[in-house]
């Protein structure tokens, strides 16, 4: 039986991620854990992140960080929101924070104005740049739910883009890693479809 582990490093609400996975799972077991052995034994990983990136990076213990870096290299992994940003090279949030450099690109602040509200909060369209197994049965330009104040403007791993004032990268993919800026667990049918595709995904 496939073991899916949602990595719990003490940041934010993992309830909604695990509930959404449970809602679409057929035979997979969904576990929320920070236990290194559980993470090592898993078949797939979900890497969430909520709040400020500096707190997220700091919440990572040295052991957990080493294990995650090792496991993320070989297992199907889904990174969400700040989890996605942490896999990039760096972020300018909190006066500059170094990322894990697993994916190409950096994170910058969204430019706000009277028309362009920050945080970018709400439903926006996700335009496909390439095809990917995790986008199966999801229409190009479907709406997904976003909540963020920082974004990645360009990356050679870009998979989809979204416009909020500027165009930014709303998801990235590289080998066994799929990373999204939006929250599939809050994106109703399109989001649940993405989770289902993740459970079906074999790299």
């Amino acid at each position: 039986m496939t073991q899916v582990v949602v990595i719990d490093y003490g940041m934010g609400n993992l309830h909604s991620v695990s509930k959404a996975l449970e809602a679409v799972s057929v035979s997979e077991t969904i576990t929320v854990s920070s236990d290194l052995e559980v993470i090592k034994k898993s078949d797939k990983l979900v890497f969430p992140g909520v709040g400020a990136i500096k707190d997220c990076m700091e919440a990572f213990s040295v052991d957990l960080k080493e294990t995650v870096l090792e496991e993320v290299k070989r297992k199907p992994t889904l990174a969400i929101c700040v989890g996605m940003q942490m896999l990039l090279e760096s972020s300018e949030e909190n006066d500059g924070v170094e990322g894990l450099s697993i994916l190409d690109g950096t994170v910058t602040k969204i430019q706000s104005s009277k028309e362009i509200k920050v945080p970018h909060m709400g439903w926006n369209q996700v335009k496909f740049l390439k095809d990917h197994p995790l986008l199966k049965n999801i229409d190009d330009s479907s709406f997904f739910y976003f909540v963020h104040s920082y974004c990645c403007l360009s990356s050679k791993d870009a998979l989809t883009e979204t416009t909020h004032g500027e165009r930014f990268i709303s998801s990235l993919a590289k080998d066994n890693i799929f990373a999204v800026q939006f929250h599939p667990e809050k994106s109703q049918t399109a989001g649940l479809e993405l989770y289902k595709n993740f459970l079906d995904w074999s790299v």
Binding site: G12, N13, H15, S16, K19, A20, A23, V50, G51, A52, S112, S113, K114, I116, K117, V118, P119, H120, M121, G122, W123, N124, Q125, K127, S141, F143, Y145, F146, V147, H148, S149, T162, T163, H164, E185, K186, S187, Q188, G191, L192
Partner: protein, 255 residues
């Protein structure tokens, strides 16, 4: 392509049941919050807001259970407010499955609470609810009120919303106490002034009686989202009808 304008149905929950006062008078029972939330989700609601109107110590556990139940069946954002007084209250609501927490009176009484909450949990989950009452003396002055309008604070809504924006609030839920329950439409001057003054998303609330009111909140008031309760609870309109009307008037909505 831009971020879609949102329709947010609001559930006023009293001891585990959805209720709605009509013109401040008879509170009508509108049903089970979980069933109603599921119906709204199916109809295409963009988010759900749940306000615990009793917010007493005794009924708090019921609230957490309701939140947990909604969050495990409805996969759109859920904001919970009413009686949020401490960091621990926020933590419990987020753990129960709320995505955002709305703070009202506690923010007015202790503005640093907004800062503390945003630092701890991130701006994305901190909504500051502002109840506003127009001044009889001046056209461009709205006063912040608390305790359902019974307590006047003397604070200017425009400077208050600016302050909480600086303190890290992620969104403003703006209710006109003059319009709430009247079905006469939003106070769009108020919505416009607040929305124009800050870069945060503003949710317009209070007074919706028909679908044109929702459209005006966005087109005239400049709100990012519109919140309504009674027009949806008693099935006067469905969320889908509301979205169709908004789309027909040229507003970008999610289908």
């Amino acid at each position: 392509m831009a971020v879609a304008k949102r329709i947010i149905p609001c559930l006023d929950v009293d001891k585990g049941r959805v209720v709605k006062g009509v013109n401040f008078l008879n509170i009508r029972d509108a049903g089970d919050p979980v069933e109603i939330a599921k119906r709204y989700d199916k109809e295409g609601a963009d988010e759900i807001t749940m306000l615990d109107i009793t917010a007493s110590h005794e009924t708090r556990e019921t609230t957490y259970k309701t939140v947990e139940s909604i969050a495990s069946q409805v996969f759109i954002p859920l904001t919970v407010g009413g009686g949020v007084r401490s960091i621990d209250d926020i933590k419990k609501l987020l753990r129960s499955g709320a995505d955002k927490v709305s703070i009202n009176t506690s923010a007015v009484e202790n503005p640093d609470f907004v800062k503390e909450a945003a630092d701890k949990f991130g701006s994305q989950c901190i909504v500051v609810a502002v109840d506003a009452k127009a001044s009889s003396q001046s056209e461009d002055f709205w006063e912040v009120v608390t305790y359902g309008g019974r307590n006047r604070t003397g604070m200017d809504v425009l400077s208050w919303t600016q302050q909480v924006a600086d303190y890290g609030a992620g969104e403003i839920l703006l209710t006109s106490m003059d319009r709430d329950g009247t079905k006469e439409g939003f106070d769009n001057d108020l919505v416009f002034q607040v929305s124009n003054g800050i870069s945060l998303p503003v949710i317009a609330s209070g007074g919706v009686g028909n679908l044109d009111h929702l459209i005006d909140g966005i087109k005239v008031g400049g709100a990012e989202a519109v919140l309504a309760a009674s027009i949806f609870h008693f099935s006067e309109y469905t969320i889908k009808e509301a979205k169709e009307a908004m789309r027909a008037s040229g507003i970008e909505v999610r289908f």
